[in-house]
C-alpha cells in the first residue's frame, strides 16, 4: 500500500524530530526539529486524505503549514531575544522556569 509508505516516512520524520527536540542544545536546532514533527503530522494528514479519498486532510495540511510558518516566526524572534540578552542560545543554560 502506498499510504503505508507515507505513514512510515512520517513516523520516521516524527521520531527524528522528537530526538532533535530532546537531544539538541541549540535552540534553532530544536525549532527545526519541531518543524520536522509538524511536517510529519502534515504528511500523515495528506496520507489519510489519500486513503479516504477526501480533500479535507489536504486542506487541513495547508492550514498546518500556514500556522507552522507563524510559529517559526515567533520562535525565531524569541531565540533572537534570548541571544541578545545572554549571548547564547544553549537551552540547557536556560533554567529560569525551574520550580
Amino acid at each position: 500500500m502506498l499510504a503505508v509508505n507515507f505513514l512510515l516516512l512520517a513516523a520516521a520524520l516524527f521520531s527524528i524530530g522528537v530526538y532533535g527536540v530532546i537531544a539538541r542544545r541549540n535552540a534553532v536546532m530544536v525549532l527545526m526539529s519541531i518543524e520536522l514533527i509538524l511536517n510529519a503530522v502534515t504528511l500523515n494528514l495528506v496520507a489519510f486524505a489519500l486513503m479516504n479519498g477526501a480533500i479535507d486532510g489536504q486542506v487541513f495540511a495547508l492550514f498546518v503549514i500556514a500556522i507552522a510558518a507563524a510559529e517559526v516566526g515567533v520562535g525565531l524572534a524569541m531565540v533572537l531575544m534570548i541571544y541578545r540578552n545572554r549571548k547564547s542560545i544553549a537551552l540547557d543554560e536556560l533554567s529560569e522556569m525551574k520550580g
Partner: protein, 821 residues
C-alpha cells in the same frame, strides 16, 4: 313605575369626582410630611391649599346636588337630552310623593376577599355633601386661624400635616359608600386625633389625655366592628339577592333594614353595637370623659374636633344608617330608644358639669357634649332632619366659640385658659373677640334669630311632637342650663375685674406657669417659642406689650366669618317660617333629607364596586303608591310598612312637627329665665361677692356634696381608672407578667441554653473535625503533591519535551491497545 316614566337625574363632574375631596387632604398630608419643612411656610400652605381645593369641589358638589334634586322634582334637567326629544315627563305634583334621589356613586374595587368586593370611592347624597362642604369649610378656617396661633411651634409642620389628615379622615368617612371605608375614615380620625391631642406630649398630662382619648374611643370602636359584622351577617344574603350588592354596602344596609324581611335580632343588636361606637366617638354618657381631657391639645384642634369632625362622626354614623336604628329601636312606632335615653342623660349631666369648670375650654367641651346629646336625642326620637341641621349650625358657633377662647388665651391671658385666675374684664381689650363670642353664645343658647334657635328648637319641638313629652322637658331644661353656664363663662371671661394674666401681670407667677395648658415642661431642650410668638406675631405690629390686646387679623378673620354663620346658618332651614314663606325656605329639608319613597329594585344599580370606575346615575321611577309617605304624621309607607315586592326604601318616613308659636315662646322664655337667673347670680357671686352666696358650698352640706360630685365629674373617671381599669388591668397585668417570666422567658431561656449546647457540640465535632479537617486536609494534600512534583520542574526545556513526548507516547500506546483489543 314603568321604565318609560323614568326621570333622568342630572349629575355632574363635581358629584362624580367628589372622592377627590377625600383624596386631596391625604395627598396634602403626604406632601407636608415629606417636604413640609423645606417649604417657605413650613407646610402650612399645602394644608391650606388642599383644604381650599377640597372646599371648591365640595361647593361645586353642593350646587350640582341641588340641581340633581331639582331635576328629580321637576323633571327639568339643564341641557337634558330627554327634553330635547320632546318627551313629557312625570312631575311630582302636590300631594304626590317626591321621588327618591339616588346617591351618585363612584367607586373602585379596593380589595377582594372570598368573593366579596370592597369598594373605595364616594357616594354622594344630601347628607354626605352637606358634611363634606361643612368639614372642608370649617377646616379651612381653622387652618387659617392656626397659621398665626401655632406660629413658632416646634412641631408646626407636623401639626398641619395631622390637621390635614384629620379632616381627610372625616371626609373619607362621610363620603363612604360601604362600612369598610367608613371604618377606615373613622380610624384615621381616631389616630390623628391622638396625634393632635398629644401634640405637646412633652408634658405628661397631655400625653395622658391623648392616650385617654384614644383608648376611650377604642372601647367604642369595638362596638363599630362588632356592629358592622352583625349587620353584615344579617344583610348580606338579602343584599346579594335583591340588589346585587353585599352586606357592607350602606345603601344595601338601609334598604335591608326597611325591607321588612330583616331579622329583628340582627337589627337590634347591630344597632346597639353601632351605637356604642357612637357613644365613644361622640362623647355620649358614659364615655364622654375623654372629650374634656382632649382640651390638652392646641385650641384649633379642639375647635375642629368639637365642631365638624370627630365627635360629629358618631352622630353622622347614626344619621347615615338611620334605617337600622329606626327599625332596631322601633323609633317609628314611638319606642323609647336607647339613643334617646343616652342623648337625654348626656344633655343634662354634661350641662351640669360645665358649671364647675374653671377652664374655659372645658366649659365649651362639656357644652359640646351636651349639644351632641341634643343631636342624639333628636335622632333617637325620629327627628332626623333637626339633628342633622343641628350638626350644621353647631359646627359654626361651636367652632367660633373655641376660636374665641383660643384668641383670648393667645392675646388676652397669656396662654392660660383658667377663667378664674387669668381672665376677666377682657371685653374692652378684645372687642372683636368679645362680639363674636357673644353672637356665638346667643346662637348656642338658642336665642332668636341666631342659628342655634332654629336647630335646637326644632329638635325639642319634634321630640315633643313625636310623643316624647318627658324628653322634651329634658331638652328644655338643658336649654336653660346652657344659657346659665354660658353666661357664667362669658361673665368670668369678659366682665368683672381683670385677674392674673388678663390684668397684665402674672407672667412670672408660679401659678400661671402651672396652669398654662399650652406650656411645655420646664427643662425642655429648646424653648417652644409659643410664648415668644405671642409677643411677636407680625400682624399687629403696633402692640407688643405684654398686656391683653386684640389678636391679629389671621386669628380674627376666621372668627368673624364663623360668627357671621352663627347668625345666619339657621336660615338654611327655618321651619317656623315655612308656613309664611312656603316650604322653599326649608333648604335642608328639600335637599338633604332623603325622600321616603320606595323605588323599584330594577332602577337601583348596585352601587358596589364594579370592574372599573363606574359612575352610577340611575333613573328614578316614582312610586305608584305615592302620597302615602308624604304628609307628616301618616304612619304608613317607608319605615312603617314593608315596601312592595320589587321595591326598596332607603329612608324611613320621618315626621316633621308643625311649629307652634306657643312652643317657640315657651322655649325662648325658658332660655330667657336661664339667662336672667345666671346673670343675677354672676353679678351677685362674682361681681359683688355677695355674702349669702360666697362660701355656700362650704356651709351647706347638700350643696357641698353636689359640688364635689360635679367637681369630680360624677366620679366616672375614678370609676374607670380605679375600678374598671384596675380590676381588669391589674390581674391581667399580673397574669401577663407571670406568663412572661415563667412561661415565655423560661421557654426562651431553655431554648437559648439548649441552642448554646448544641452549638458547642457542633463546633467541637462537626466544625472543627469534619469541616476544618476537610479544608486543612485538602490544603495539606495539595502542598505535599506540589513538593513531590517539584523535582520534575527542572526548568530544562529538553526535559519538559522528553516528558511531553514520553507521556504522549504512553497515551498513544494505551490508545492503540484499547482500540485494538
Amino acid at each position: 313605575m314603568l321604565a318609560a316614566d323614568a326621570i333622568e337625574l342630572s349629575s355632574g363632574w363635581f358629584l362624580e369626582n367628589a372622592w377627590l375631596v377625600g383624596l386631596i387632604p391625604v395627598i396634602g398630608f403626604a406632601v407636608i410630611i415629606g417636604f413640609g419643612k423645606r417649604l417657605p411656610m413650613k407646610g402650612a400652605e399645602v394644608g391650606l391649599a388642599s383644604m381650599a381645593i377640597s372646599l371648591v369641589i365640595a361647593l361645586g358638589g353642593v350646587v350640582q346636588w341641588i340641581q340633581r334634586t331639582n331635576s328629580a322634582d321637576t323633571g327639568e334637567e339643564a341641557g337634558s337630552l330627554i327634553q330635547a326629544f320632546g318627551r313629557t315627563l312625570p312631575q311630582a305634583t302636590e300631594g304626590e310623593a317626591k321621588p327618591f334621589v339616588t346617591p351618585v356613586v363612584t367607586s373602585w374595587v379596593w380589595w377582594q376577599n372570598s368573593g366579596l368586593e370592597f369598594g373605595i370611592g364616594s357616594s354622594i347624597d344630601g347628607l354626605a355633601i352637606l358634611l363634606i362642604a361643612l368639614v372642608a369649610f370649617i377646616t379651612l378656617l381653622v387652618m387659617i386661624f392656626s397659621v398665626d396661633y401655632v406660629r413658632g411651634d416646634r412641631r408646626y409642620t407636623h401639626f398641619f400635616a395631622a390637621m390635614t389628615l384629620f379632616s381627610g379622615g372625616m371626609l373619607i368617612m362621610v363620603m363612604s359608600e360601604n362600612m369598610v371605608q367608613l371604618i377606615l375614615g373613622w380610624e384615621i380620625m381616631g389616630l390623628t386625633s391622638f396625634m393632635l391631642i398629644g401634640h405637646w406630649w412633652e408634658e405628661e398630662a397631655n400625653s395622658r389625655a391623648a392616650l385617654k382619648a384614644f383608648f376611650t374611643v377604642r372601647v367604642g370602636d369595638v362596638g363599630l366592628l362588632v356592629g358592622t359584622a352583625i349587620i353584615f351577617f344579617g344583610a348580606n344574603q338579602w343584599a346579594v339577592d335583591n340588589l346585587d350588592s353585599n352586606g357592607f354596602n350602606i345603601a344595601a344596609i338601609q334598604a335591608w333594614a326597611l325591607s321588612g324581611e330583616a331579622n329583628t335580632q340582627f337589627l337590634l343588636w347591630g344597632a346597639v353595637a353601632l351605637f356604642i361606637a357612637c357613644i365613644g366617638k361622640s362623647g355620649q354618657f358614659p364615655l364622654h370623659t375623654w372629650l374634656p381631657d382632649a382640651m390638652a391639645g392646641p385650641t384649633p384642634v379642639s375647635s375642629l374636633l368639637h365642631s365638624s369632625t370627630m365627635v360629629v362622626a358618631g352622630v353622622f354614623l347614626v344619621a347615615r344608617i338611620y334605617p337600622v336604628f329606626w327599625e332596631g329601636f322601633n323609633i317609628g312606632t314611638g319606642g323609647l330608644s336607647f339613643i334617646a335615653i343616652i342623648g337625654a342623660i348626656t344633655i343634662v349631666i354634661a350641662a351640669l358639669l360645665a358649671f364647675v369648670q374653671d377652664d374655659i375650654k372645658k366649659v365649651l367641651a362639656y357644652s359640646t357634649v351636651s349639644q351632641l346629646g341634643y343631636m342624639m336625642l333628636g335622632l333617637g326620637t325620629g327627628a332626623w332632619l333637626p339633628a342633622v341641621f343641628h350638626i350644621f349650625t353647631h359646627a359654626f358657633f361651636k367652632c367660633a366659640l373655641f376660636l374665641c377662647a383660643g384668641s383670648v388665651s393667645h392675646s388676652g391671658s397669656h396662654h392660660s385658659f383658667d377663667m378664674k385666675k387669668d381672665m376677666g374684664g377682657l371685653r374692652k381689650k378684645m372687642p372683636v373677640t368679645f362680639a363674636a363670642w357673644c353672637v356665638s353664645t346667643l346662637a348656642l343658647t338658642g336665642v332668636f334669630p341666631f342659628a342655634g334657635f332654629w336647630s335646637k328648637d326644632e329638635i325639642i319641638d319634634n321630640v315633643g311632637a313625636n310623643g316624647y313629652t318627658f324628653l322634651m322637658w329634658v331638652g328644655l331644661a338643658g336649654a336653660a342650663l346652657t344659657a346659665m353656664y354660658m353666661t357664667r363663662a362669658t361673665y368670668l371671661t369678659f366682665f368683672g375685674e381683670p385677674r392674673g394674666a388678663a390684668a397684665g401681670h402674672g407672667h412670672d407667677d408660679a401659678h400661671a406657669e402651672e396652669h398654662e395648658m399650652e406650656h411645655i415642661g420646664v427643662g425642655a431642650p429648646e424653648p417652644r417659642s409659643l410664648g415668644a410668638a405671642a409677643n411677636a406675631h407680625g400682624d399687629d405690629g403696633s402692640d407688643h406689650s405684654d398686656g391683653p390686646h386684640e389678636s391679629g387679623k389671621l386669628i380674627l378673620i376666621p372668627i368673624v366669618i364663623l360668627a357671621f354663620f352663627a347668625v345666619t346658618a339657621g336660615f338654611a332651614n327655618p321651619t317656623p317660617l315655612a308656613s309664611r314663606f312656603g316650604e322653599g325656605v326649608e333648604v335642608l329639608k328639600t335637599y338633604v333629607e332623603p325622600r321616603a319613597t320606595p323605588i323599584s329594585t330594577g332602577e337601583v344599580i348596585a352601587s358596589g364596586p364594579g370592574e372599573s370606575v363606574r359612575i352610577v346615575t340611575p333613573s328614578v321611577a316614582p312610586s305608584a303608591e305615592g302620597g302615602e309617605g308624604e304628609g307628616g304624621h301618616s304612619k304608613s309607607g317607608c319605615g312603617f310598612t314593608a315596601p312592595e315586592t320589587g321595591t326598596v326604601c332607603f329612608f324611613p318616613g320621618v315626621s316633621h312637627a308643625e311649629p307652634k308659636f306657643a312652643k317657640i315662646l315657651l322655649s325662648l322664655a325658658i332660655v330667657a329665665v336661664g339667662y336672667a337667673l345666671a346673670i343675677a347670680f354672676c353679678v351677685a357671686f362674682y361681681g359683688r361677692r355677695d355674702e349669702r352666696l360666697v362660701g355656700l358650698t362650704e356651709r351647706n352640706r347638700a350643696l357641698r356634696g353636689g359640688f364635689l360630685f360635679l367637681k369630680n365629674k360624677y366620679y366616672l373617671d375614678a370609676l374607670y381608672e380605679n375600678v374598671i381599669v384596675r380590676a381588669i388591668a391589674h390581674p391581667i397585668a399580673n397574669a401577663a407578667y407571670w406568663v412572661n417570666q415563667k412561661v415565655i422567658d423560661a421557654t426562651v431561656n431553655e431554648v437559648g441554653i439548649g441552642t448554646r449546647k448544641t452549638g458547642q457540640w457542633v463546633y467541637d465535632n462537626i466544625d472543627q473535625k469534619v469541616v476544618d479537617g476537610a479544608v486543612n486536609g485538602s490544603g495539606w494534600a495539595a502542598s505535599e503533591a506540589g513538593h513531590g512534583l517539584q523535582s520534575t520542574q527542572s526548568g530544562k526545556v529538553s526535559q519538559y519535551g522528553a516528558l511531553l513526548f514520553g507521556a504522549a507516547a504512553v497515551g498513544a500506546i494505551v490508545l492503540v491497545l484499547v482500540n485494538v483489543s
